[in-house]
Symmetry: D2
Subunit: 365 residues, 4 copies
């Protein structure tokens, strides 16, 4: 199952940066879900570049849902979302053909596809493909909200500048959901923006970390071995271009902890079991324990930078220098946020449908 | 596919800590692989506890391969490996039933399996299950070696003490493969052992990080979206109990880097393309680039500690204290090493068979 | 994997009869396959109704390939084929809503999708969806031809009238590939056409059998248990609306045979092993033996007939009568032929890619 | 997923006829199912050869369940069932090595596994493997009964002698469940036994058809395209050695019917929707309609016959004659019955768990 995510609810992405269209097919979805087009629009807008800190490529993502939705609700049969490509620049890509951009998939795609890949603008590896993923995931984000399950991602750090920690999940989530630059602390937000602009001025780019929280998940999700909650989420996240690490709860912080600090004690809070701390990010033994699921992602600096770099020309089989032109983001963390939210929603929905059946999201009345 | 790892080469684990046996079924393997029982024995021995730094439970893992191997070679049909359980203590588990051990899966398994789970000694969640995984993976570790693909894991850090970095992969790998305590630097090794004993004396446990290197992989492996090399490896690793994070190449280190430092330049070395640095851990756009694939895992301190901890009794639905008894490891990193090697081998073999066909490992003459 | 066919090469169908578009996504295809648009056009034309023996709904299937093909060749990334719906009649479907057409999926879709299904014109269950399947399969039919693997289906019988048996596979296949009414014997063809028109006059419909032959397959394909060649083909075929049975080789004829007649002896023909008869349809123990693979399908009469029928109104929960209006085929066998060819090609290509790797169809030079 | 059946509930078979053991792993099962060992024993006994009409190889199948069952109930984690091989004859198989038995998988296995296959007694292709399948399926047969879902198979015809049709499903099912020779009509039963003995005397073997009925299934099961009820059942059945055809409801009989006869009208019976006939075997559009699901299988005569046959020696690459020795069944239909029941139970349980969630079979109290 190469380009397919999920077991019960699946999503397939298709499309290339400069092809006719990109899109996604969602299969296995519950019938009767109201398709919240406002949320699709909002999330697509948040993914789109805007302002000085993003690429100059501006493209309104006019999506169509060509199947699987009838009278505003999911039918239960496959949903195909299409987003035509419109703003391709008529640049001549053949002249840079074979000059591998460092940190990109140009060379590896060539190794894998033997030169048949659509190399224009990164082809199938372009971040543009994530627009389809966001549209698909947005439908589930709304459906999960109705079930009391909320997902939110913020920039946890950027170039060493850290956002504040979550204080009150519900308030913080509500606040973050609409922010174009998803940072809780205004001060940190300002500094991060400055750091991005500084990198941009130096013809450079900058990395950081994202933190995601899922609240409202029932205890008992996950299928060890091997389909743990951590495995499912890690699988999805590690397929996002630029994501090079994931950690749950304290993650790499555990490496310097003792067991007595690391373990989360249990306590009853009324009839519910809670943990006294949440170092394990809501997961024990690969199964949710009812506490918020938390994870962090390492996002590398955008590989497209304007400085001269050493590379190879793999067509002419010789060393070469490259100076990348065109329109690029000095930082993608703020735009990646909705991609992570969307993927998280798809993974969580997949697990819920697996556990509770295909009608999990179907209205009960 | 709940308890099944892989797409082309699959492995299914079964068994509980105190049941009759544990085991694994490998399916989709190439016919004609010589089953290297010496390596199975060696890896099982490395996984077994030994010395003062491990649990006192000593159990020789006498495995049988009951199918799929004929005259010492794989037939191509499913291989079932069985390891009978022998050293279960006749302890009465019913008296601690319901008292959730913090950091363990007792409570979450109860939520998922509604009390039908075999709770004795962690049941299906016990680290003991990894013995079957190691035996299964050991077959592939040897088969990959014959293809020039080597896998090795060492303790990268433990309680803040760091091993040295790899200097010469081939030498370092050869050295590590036989070490009971897989650390390159003797000085670091000594300090780590002291740290473990110190934690043990305090009735505590200690965490760390593992680093894995895969050399000799061809460029062009990986199926984006979504079956990237990072996704496949992360999926497998995040199902190991105690692993709470994974990062590829510089991983979370990217978060504070600029693109100009993060990108790996390309250069020809003879007819081969290499990168001038390997920050991306041998993977660009989810596909191998021919450089060593490197990743690090965050391993939390063993949750079984002998100190009193706050918890709940989920059968009687009340708060409780727990003081864990029995035999437990103050640290599992050295034993986890072969588990990670085995899983890595299974994932890599799965990708190779997917790319090159079912006969990838079959001798050609 | 609900709406997904295949393991290595997968195809997902989407769309409803009266929605915006139907389509297919092909994933896992080898890079470098020349996309033979002539064959797609030809096969789509053969699927389209034509003449007096078909429905009056005439719709040119103008497909677009919006991804996965670059400069006329497959890239190796997912191919999305879109066919917009154009000829929907503006009929008011709400007035017949709830009146289950016998033999159709109206009632069962309601049970499954709880009334959220797009019920207009059969929705996702409409035969129209097969246009996307044909377009997808046509790409593989051509690719297989280049590998020396040929697939052809003819009407084996219709209303009791039998076509002649294959005499010379290569000649017969070539002859059949272009026939709008795929029958080898002209005499049988004429009689079958008369039988269809007779059924049409009686406001009735008529069934029959299709026979498919695959030549040129290598010996050794199939993965027992459970992924036998028969299992894979049966799985695909039994998802086609109207197909209610499949048999390989002598199939149900075996039920009255003795083993001494049923067994196919082996003989060398030069260096090749052949069988002296082909009762087993080219498959022993679920694996191809190098002889032509043959199977037959039972196709029931089109359920849409113009006579009054007993049914229920499942919305108003009462018995009802129905007289179907609109445009319908009195027989679908001749149109089903390319659907079966397409599905066969997809299944065979899936098995070949699984066995020989992702580059199986990639040009070697 | 090569040797794996199912999506939600999966079963993997392993083992060879003359290896150490055969077995099955069931994964994804609901926790809390009472494991009905009486039914496992009964079904294993029915599968075993007995009397003059079966092979002389007598082997009590002493199975152990080594995991996934605790205190007599399923835990929800993988169940491994092991059946040691005990009655292998110490015959020297090397002397017949390479002489392909017609109708068997000897030659095709050689093509697939390149000579590494365990060829003794058919290896992984031996009917013996079905013992493990029967044990696995027997657990689900009992669990389904508790849900009001009954499965039964009888010999529909044998060598042209037909059993009577079902008259009252519940009575007929109850009667058939315990019969060693599963035929409803005593007269037909006697004639069939005679036909088998007659074939045996002629050193020959005989084929027939099996008919299976599933009652009590809810309407709305099936996932078109492609996971229809027919596809799932056909996939499973076509992997059974000797099964060469499957048809649902009227199946191939539809080929000579008109639509007005073929369609099943709907009617309310109280609050339930029923069909006036059941030509479609309880399935419309690939989805159950609440009526009994019925299908028939074509079973070829056992390929092992004692007459001289033409074949090849594929090791020495020359033509050869073969006279099979050893212990073989002149007919396998009566023994195949429980195999079909078991497979049907596994497929149906898989669909139910997919639709209603992992706890479908878990007791509700």
């Amino acid at each position: 199952m190469k380009n397919i995510l999920g077991s019960n609810l699946t999503v397939t992405l298709f499309g290339e940066s400069h092809g006719e269209a990109i899109g996604a097919v969602i299969d296995g979805i519950s019938p009767g879900i109201s398709v919240d087009t406002d949320n699709i629009d909002k999330m697509l807008t948040l993914r789109r570049p805007s302002g000085k800190i993003s690429t100059a490529r501006q493209e309104k993502d006019e999506y169509s849902i060509v199947s699987g939705v009838f009278e505003g609700k999911t039918t239960g049969t496959p949903i195909c979302i299409i987003i035509p490509n419109k703003a391709q620049q008529s640049k001549d890509y053949t002249k840079t053909r074979g000059i591998a951009r460092p940190g990109h998939a140009d060379y590896t795609a060539y190794c894998k596809y033997h030169g048949y890949e659509d190399y224009r603008g990164g082809g199938h590896f372009s971040g543009r493909i994530t627009a389809a993923l966001v549209a698909a995931g947005a439908i589930l984000v709304s459906a999960l909200e109705k079930k009391g399950i909320r997902i939110v991602t913020h920039i946890d750090s950027l170039g060493g500048i850290c956002d504040r920690k979550f204080e009150n999940y519900d308030n913080d989530i509500t606040e973050l959901l609409d922010k174009a630059f998803p940072v809780l602390s205004d001060e940190a937000s300002e500094k991060m923006n400055e750091a991005i602009l500084e990198a941009k001025e130096k013809l450079d780019s900058i990395g950081g970390t994202l933190e995601t929280v899922i609240t409202g998940l029932p205890a008992g999700l996950g299928e060890p071995w091997f389909e743990t909650v951590e495995s499912k989420l890690a699988y999805a996240m590690m397929s996002v271009g630029g994501v090079k690490g994931i950690e749950f709860g304290r993650g790499f912080g555990f490496a310097e902890m003792l067991g007595s600090d690391a373990n989360d004690g249990f306590r009853y809070e009324g009839e519910s079991v809670v943990t006294t701390t949440n170092n394990n990010g809501g997961i024990n033994g690969g199964i949710t324990n009812g506490m918020p699921v938390t994870f962090r992602l390492a996002v590398k600096p955008t590989p497209s930078i304007y400085q001269k770099q050493e590379t190879v020309d793999f067509i002419n089989k010789e060393n070469a220098d490259i100076e990348i032109e065109g329109r690029h983001d000095p930082c993608i963390l703020h735009r990646a946020k909705v991609v992570v939210d969307a993927l998280t929603a798809l993974v969580v929905a997949d697990m819920l449908i697996g556990r509770y059946g295909t009608d999990y999201f179907t209205p009960k009345d």
